[in-house]
Symmetry: C2
DNA sequence: CGTTTGAGTTTACTTTCAGAGACTCAGCGA
DNA sequence: TCGCTGAGTCTCTGAAAGTAAACTCAAACG
């Protein structure tokens, strides 16, 4: 019997029933950043863009979608607006990343790393990530609480405190 | 002058021009796994599903989309098909994850972790990830080559070997 | 006072997605 | 040989998302 089934029996839930997937954290994150353009907007913020026109120019994305995605990201607290003023023009909003937004970096670096490995040009990646102080290359890794590296195949998923089964109709 | 601009000048590229974003590894990964349902299908594979009817039942996704996504994932080498045979019925295909698919685990764990932190139910996450051997909780982290933890704000992006600027029309 | 500019909104059109149902196809078992 | 089953495909309709281009709005500039 696997750890999953064992834990379910401890809590009195029937392991033959389907999981309730409505409170899955992966799905909930995708509700916020899973729409087209959203992650690419964040990429541009990390690479230094902050203004509506910059996003539009670099991404080539339609203005109405850009406005909708930026609004969503601000509502969700991933970006925040500040104002900037170029000398000789009026003050305008700009978009800066929040700490909640910075917490998406590991996920997006995971995507970057996979793309670098499997879909890069023959010469290599277009962008490299390095540690600002020491200049060493950085990557995302899975570690256990003791700080030891963990292979993906050695990860076990077990029911958490909000785990529920789906009642059969 | 930042490291980005400095490196561009070393290679003779004009740092005032926009980056060419067509070979971005993030965008290329999203071309494969960025459509709705795709990552959720992978989630179900990690949680133990392998059959068409299981995906359909647990995800509640339309069969035609499910078939299209599974076909894409197999074409891309993220899933592979094998056959299984229940006693008394004919052999049918099932979907298993490949090592290329397992390499997406860090990215998806990044999404999971963000959702656990910012969008979980009050009781906590629905699913916990732990190290199969020691049972300790696992998470994704950014590390530099020396194995030291790196904060997202201490990461610097610099042009890589396939970096290009976009010619101004 | 008219023009320019960045930051949007509106409108019109096209593509994709969602959801449901009918249909196919191959082999197993009665 | 007929019906059943899992794994799909096909077709349809309505909703949502994506795209392109025109339009608005408010200061600042000449």
């Amino acid at each position: 019997m696997d750890a999953w089934t064992e834990l379910l029996q401890d809590t009195g839930m029937d392991p033959r029933l389907d999981r309730d997937t409505s409170n899955c954290s992966i799905a909930r994150t995708l509700e916020v950043v899973g729409e087209k353009w959203t992650i690419l907007i964040l990429r541009e913020v990390w690479y230094g863009s902050s203004r509506f026109s910059e996003f539009e120019r670099v991404l080539g994305c339609p203005r109405n979608l850009l406005a909708a995605r930026l609004r969503m990201l601000v509502e969700e607290g991933i970006l925040a607006t500040e104002t900037y003023k170029e000398p000789g023009s009026r003050s305008r909003p700009k978009y800066v990343i929040t700490s909640k937004g910075m917490d998406l970096v590991p996920a997006v670096m995971g995507l970057l790393q996979w793309g670098d490995r499997y879909r890069a040009d023959p010469e290599g990646p277009a962008v490299l990530a390095r540690h600002r102080e020491c200049g060493a290359h950085v990557d995302v890794q899975i570690r256990c609480e003791q700080g030891h590296p963990v292979q993906a195949k050695d990860i076990e998923s077990v029911p958490g405190p909000a785990f529920r089964v789906r009642s059969p109709e």
